[in-house]
Symmetry: C4
Subunit: 199 residues, 4 copies
């Protein structure tokens, strides 16, 4: 039963993440001419698209590992999960805004704010899963804020502020955070491996 | 067999709900300037987005609990389910309309009308599931219109009318209904728990 | 193995049908005023939307019953299925065109042409499934063109031609065909029931 | 465990591919008149749509066969899969661009470039699956670059260059490659059949 509930939560989340990652392309306005010159002003938008695609991919990956490590879910987990999807659902919007106003500090800051709220929502989801599975669960023993999560939050706050100095600072920070996350969360992976051994 | 049918009904509904909850963001027009001033006129739209996101989330959650409590489905259930999805599919449209015409009574009323029809469709789906599972099923014994469903319908009717007095009245009512539903349906949850015990 | 393949074919088809049925709402342009008068010119579009929503729902329902009755799938079935999804994918496009040009014969005809091609594609999919499952399979014994399928094709051809006399003729025909199909295919349902008995 | 991971990877990929194949239709602008003359300038766009629909279908089909032949997945496979989805996600964008600028070499070349990068990404995904399953796995023994994959890459490079001579050369090449791929990959199919026998 509990596994079935988790499966449907995963399926719904996968559906939402699949739509988020794909509809971003609808924000790419097709150039009005068939020339390379018409494509050139789109380069910031294309880079923002690639970055956001990576971030949604990272969240899908981490979400997948987190849920896999968790045993059961309850009502609080469901709402914590929707709260995460809420902030992720703004990524197409902020991506399009930052891509078309690359040198304005506000869109660059708002982009970081959305990433920050998504990171907070992910931590809340992890906490709700620990509560649902009890303090002795594998997840509880392995979880908790780790260095990567803390580094991300610090980086987002720095990027939100840094955008008012120069927007390229924030852009560099976002790309650096994405790179750091491309490595999957070893702690959760090892928790799964151990849980497999125990069966 | 029956479980497989229910699984595909759930999968299709999850797919539709995932698209509904996500494409709403496409209705958010990206501001034409990179300033906070350009974002300010979007605040009503963003609040309407957050509210509608919550309502679709509530429907996903309640749909999930209802189907989980039900054993089998038949042709009538399939059409009752599509009827519910039909009214829910208008949420991106009415959200965008109400967000851009916040002080006009008609969009605010039409928003409530869509929520009302969705609530009616949800009740019809519940009834069709009870019929498909027989009067002695767990679902039949636990189901029926409850206080929260009646309160919602009364609130929607009040909000549809109240919009012609002042649109903020309706807005407050919609937020209040959403808050009331954030608590999951305990009756259905307990039905599932009992059904698990019986196995 | 065969069941796993069918499951993924169903999952992909459900995904495509869920997106088709939902993105149609994006073709509904939000009225530029918050009045009933601004909503009135949208009535044809809204009716076309409701009709197309019903048709996609019918296809989902029939697709579900057809695949459920079938045992295995092969490469030809995969392409026959994609061919069906191809014609169904045009429904949002033709719906929007017919809704905004209600009295022009061409959009009304093209709408019927898309329904005709979808019906042909559904028959081809059914044939490919019969071939994949052998002449002695339950599907083969129960399948074949039935009265409802033949009536639909005749009706679509009549509506394609009738649009050039008066577009309301075609509109009436499309609604009549949709009504006829709201009743699920009893032959396939009984094949499934028999197949269950045999196990 | 490993199979569950593969299932979720398949489900997410199916979701993304279902959205890609379906949202392309949103790029088809509804004609402003209800006449055949208004539809005529859309013919290149419609042909580009049909071609891209076929390519996404081919990728879904081959992806399905590749994953089916593979036993387990790891973190590298997840990112190789997202990398493939990244290039495929541009198909709606390049389709729309090439459809509206049929005689310009740049969009026709960029279309081929996206197909080329998708083909490279598919090969990288296949390699990562072989690495994850070991050199003695069925996949490893059957996989490796085959004639069809090499022919496709050569054809894409020729079409990217050929567009600067005449765009119809590239268009013919793309249709020829699509035709070649409509036949499913027999090697992987036979690997699956053998793997079934061995169980």
């Amino acid at each position: 039963m509990r596994t079935l509930e988790r499966d449907r939560l995963e399926a719904f989340s996968d559906g939402v993440l699949a739509v988020i990652i794909t509809i971003m392309v609808l924000e790419l306005k097709v150039p009005h001419a068939g020339t390379l010159a018409a494509l050139k002003p789109m380069i910031p938008t294309l880079l923002a698209y690639a970055l956001s695609f990576t971030f949604v991919g990272i969240y899908w990956n981490n979400h997948h590992h987190l849920l896999r490590a968790a045993g059961g879910i309850d009502g609080t987990v469901m709402w914590a999960n929707l709260h995460l999807l809420f902030w992720l659902s703004f990524i197409p919007f902020v991506t399009s805004w930052v891509g078309t106003h690359l040198t304005d500090p506000i869109p660059m800051s708002v982009y970081g704010f959305d990433l920050l709220m998504s990171a907070v929502a992910f931590s809340l989801l992890a906490s709700s899963l620990v509560r649902a599975n009890g303090p002795d669960s594998l997840l509880a023993r392995q979880s908790g804020l780790d260095a990567k999560q803390i580094a991300s939050v610090v980086a987002y706050v720095a990027a939100i502020a840094g955008a008012f100095v120069a927007t390229w600072i924030s852009a560099v920070v976002y790309f650096a955070v994405a790179l750091m996350w491309l490595v999957p969360d070893r702690r959760l992976e090892s928790a799964i491996v151990e849980s497999q051994k125990g069966r």
